[in-house]
């Protein structure tokens, strides 16, 4: 099977999966009164920006997030499995189908990348590291996709996230740890900063 076919298959299976997820949302909640996904998503704007594009300086943009990534994140917060300051308390206020409704609302929004300062030299070094160690999962330079959004995300937030992964305060996927370790070995102490500046440069 050629690479092109494989891509097409992946796209197809993703479409099927998205369709299934969308159908789950549309099954009406039996008797429970229920606000729409849009109404629920509107309440997030005070911290994550109108329609999920945060104006910073540190709360992350959640617009255009892959619905599965959104749901995983909310469920992890709900179960206190991911370090947070406030999101664990908020996530506990929503039922599973409400979280799905919000996920779909944000998936449909366009993310406005964060306008933030970055060091072009570091960003250049980061671009190379990204291509080699991160692009396979965080595709298209870390644009919203199957893995968390990195491109145009607020730098302080990505910094907190990496601190949490590395200090054991967030579930660190083995594959990711291997790649981050390799990037740090190749790029030295500046490797992570370089990556963050690269993502900040994607505006």
């Amino acid at each position: 099977m050629g690479a092109e076919n494989m891509n097409r298959n992946e796209t197809m299976s993703k479409k099927v999966r998205n369709l299934l997820l969308a159908m789950l949302v549309q099954v009406p909640a039996v008797v429970l009164a229920d606000p729409t996904g849009q109404a629920l998503a509107f309440t997030c704007a005070g911290c994550h920006g109108t329609d999920g594009s945060s104006v910073g300086p540190s709360s992350p943009s959640i617009a255009a997030m892959d619905p599965e990534v959104f749901i995983d994140a909310m469920q992890a917060y709900k179960r206190d499995e991911r370090n947070s300051t406030i999101m664990n308390r908020i996530a506990k206020g929503y039922r599973d189908e409400q979280i799905k409704g919000m996920a779909w609302y944000f998936a449909k929004q366009k993310m406005a990348p964060a306008p933030q300062a970055f060091d072009p030299k570091l960003a250049e070094a980061g671009a190379k590291l990204h291509e080699k160690y991160c692009e396979k999962c965080h595709e298209k330079g870390g644009r919203p996709g199957d893995a968390g959004t990195l491109a145009g995300q607020w730098m302080p937030y990505l910094n907190f996230t990496m601190e949490d992964f590395m200090s054991g305060h967030r579930d660190y996927p083995r594959k990711m740890k291997r790649k981050v370790d390799a990037a740090v070995e190749a790029g030295g102490d500046e490797a992570l900063r370089a990556l963050l500046h690269y993502y900040a440069s994607k505006q």
């Binding site: 009164a33 109404a39 920006g49 945060s54 908020i90």
Partner: protein
Amino acid sequence: MNKINRRDFIRLAVGTTLAGGTLGFPGLLLAASPKVVVVGGGVGGCTAAKYLRKLDPRIEVTLIETKNAYTSCFMSNEVLSGDRTLASITFDYEGLKRHGVKIVIDRVSAIDPVNRQVATEGGERFGYDACVVSPGVDFKWEAIEGYDVEVAEEIPHAWFAGPQTSLLRRQIESMPEGGTVAIVAPPDPFKCPPGPYERASQIAMYCKHHKPRAKILILDPKEAFSKQGLFRQGWTQLYGFGTDNSMIEWIGGAGGGKVESLDPSTRTLQAEVEAFKADVINIIPPQKAGKVAFTSDLVDGDWCPVNKMTFESSRHPNVYVLGDASNAAKMPKSAYAANTQAKVAAAAIIARFNGQDPGDPTFTNTCYSILGEEHGISVAAVYALDKGTNTIEPVKESGGLSPMDASPAQRKREVTYAHSWFQNLISDMMG
């Protein structure tokens, strides 16, 4: 509005309804561009205006506000510490204009719910299909003897951000080295429940560097206050709270903290048990709904009752009261609360224009307080409406306070999230 006074205006208007007006909305279904007039350019009013246009650009939205720029009360305590300038919390209405909202700078005298008109002191009248009223709070000036609008020019309340905030800041800066600042906290309910205590923290943050022997005394009629445990813990860590050398002292109701009168000439506060003299006095008076809520017959007691499904006034149809002025129990009077209430009202107004039932409402509150340069705390809640009791209840097992004994790194993160909350809230309401 020249020949009849405001009360007559309302009386005449209400009289007309009783005389035989029928209320119905079928006409609205046909209107090409229904009109909404928004009274008040704070969080509730701005958010409603923006979201009405966002959800249905056919709606003509006119927002009437007395000032040509908005100065936010949230983050205004940070001006007192010198951490922020007043300019950094002041915003014009250009963003709303870009969303197609018409901005009128004038003062609303009263709303006529029968003829569906808003009258201004400038002599204009604006017809509406729905009216959103978000006037914020007003003070009960009579509550503390010796304190009134004029005295407030010398002894600030600083509870509406602006010149009052600058005045308090200047007084703190020029007070003697070992001076005392007295903050008179209000009884419940009032806007921004953690505000007086964050204020004490921000003043302490300034004094710690510039007047280390200063004292900040909070005189409080209440027995307890918002985020109390977290404030006390933060003050203990940062300002020696609980020791003889504490920079901050809190005197609650049981300790005689209720202030009865002020002698401005000697800067002396008479509380229930003893008198307190201070170099700088900040009085935050007891509160009630903003003036226009009273002139427009929207109150029951101090606040405006609403149907919490839509935030439509329980007293007059087609009028929606948002934010601090409404009785939105059990939500606090906060910026974030007003922001989410406005979206519920906007959606309900549009549903009505389309002849549909309103959707089920959902509300959130998030509120940050900054106690020191690297010390932030928060409270959060997700709410749902109990339709049976018309009460907005927190969803069980959710929300609550930042954990006690959180690490310094977590407290530091909450400061930067507080700044994000501020910027995103401003941008969401008027950007």
